[in-house]
Amino acid sequence: MADIVGAYFTSHVPAIGGAIHRGDQQDPYWKPFFDGFVRVHQWLALTKPDVAVVFNNDHGLNFFLDCLPTFAVGAADQYHNADEGWGLPIYKPFAGHAALSWHIVEQLVTDEFDPATCQKMQVDHALSIPFELAWPGVDAWPVKIVPIAINTVQHPLPSAKRCLALGRSVHRALTSWPGQERVVVIGTGGLSHQLDGARAGFMNPDYDRFCLDNLARNPDLLTRHSIHDIVRLSGTQGVEILNWIAARGALGPFATEVHRNYHIPISNTAAATMVLNPA
């Protein structure tokens, strides 16, 4: 079976990419956020993953409203970032682990999930920025990826309960994988933020703390809230917590917290970073 080394979670606010591009990590506005990655870098140097299963959400790069899957599993050997339309740098490509992707798809469908499978899939800042944060300055990413996209754009969204179950199905796939890869599970996005409407700028540290405090030991508590509850508590884009919940499921039944960082604001967002060990 694959060796699941742990899980890494972080916000993926596009402006972070601008800060990295400009070298603003020590700027007073950015420092409290970037300082949260020293521990992530140490942890990755120790755990040395070679594969990453990444739960994320597309923001209108790969998917449009003509065909919008609830769950989509990338099954490609290569994934490319591209122009997202508003001035972000184009990030470097990713090598895919297509064989593991298909193995995960087999398990998901066995477990009665119905994912879309994508042999071509562009990946946006939701993937690139967490990687730029985790492995700054590398020429090529040290891990192959299996990207899993969750619809957080167009309601109805899958429930938190469904996303946790999806992650747990991915965990079963990893435990039955015959290879010896060292897998890190990644969940990106969040935490509370709202970009649209008269409530734009909304954040909710109390709900964010509830999520951070329970993600390791009691992830099922996060599934008590409906999607509507989560939007009310966390903002229209705070629903990206679904990526965290799915990733937590993929980590396995037990988890211990290694590290967390929480900072307001990064752009319009309550930004968070977390690392969990299995068991």
Binding site: L65, W86, L195, A200, I264
Partner: protein, 127 residues
């Protein structure tokens, strides 16, 4: 089986659901095209022609012409796609936030910073 229950509206918040996605399709399709630099240039060169090409409704066209983000959302625009249009106008998410809340950009940014002050001393950073 669970059934859909009526839910309380969330103040200041529009859920981008099937009805909104259907209503906003043309506007969002135009914005999705802005992933390509050539389309951004074509829009800037002849905004009216570009909007016609994508079949924007009257309300969508008026909202775009007025740079009126709340009206774009009312016409079915989704913020992820609208962000690409806002980028052409040189507007970031704080500018868009200010437009929607009626604040100045400086006041909107200060409102975001003030929420950070509220958590200081609450030991949020460490578990």
């Amino acid at each position: 089986m669970p059934t859909r229950k009526p839910v309380q509206p969330i103040p200041g918040t529009t859920l981008f659901d099937g009805a909104a996605a259907a209503k906003g399709y043309a506007l969002n399709a135009m914005c999705y095209a802005f992933n390509h630099a050539a389309n951004r240039a074509a829009f800037v060169a002849d905004e009216e022609a570009f909007c016609v090409r994508y079949g924007l409704t009257h309300d969508q066209r008026a909202a775009v012409a007025a740079r009126d983000v709340p009206a774009m959302i009312a016409a079915g625009g989704n913020i992820y796609y609208l962000a690409k249009l806002a980028g052409i106008f040189g507007l970031g998410v704080q500018d868009v936030g200010a437009l929607q809340t009626g604040m100045s950009v400086a006041a909107f940014k200060q409102m975001l910073l003030d929420q950070g002050k509220d958590i200081q001393g609450k030991d949020m950073a460490h578990g």
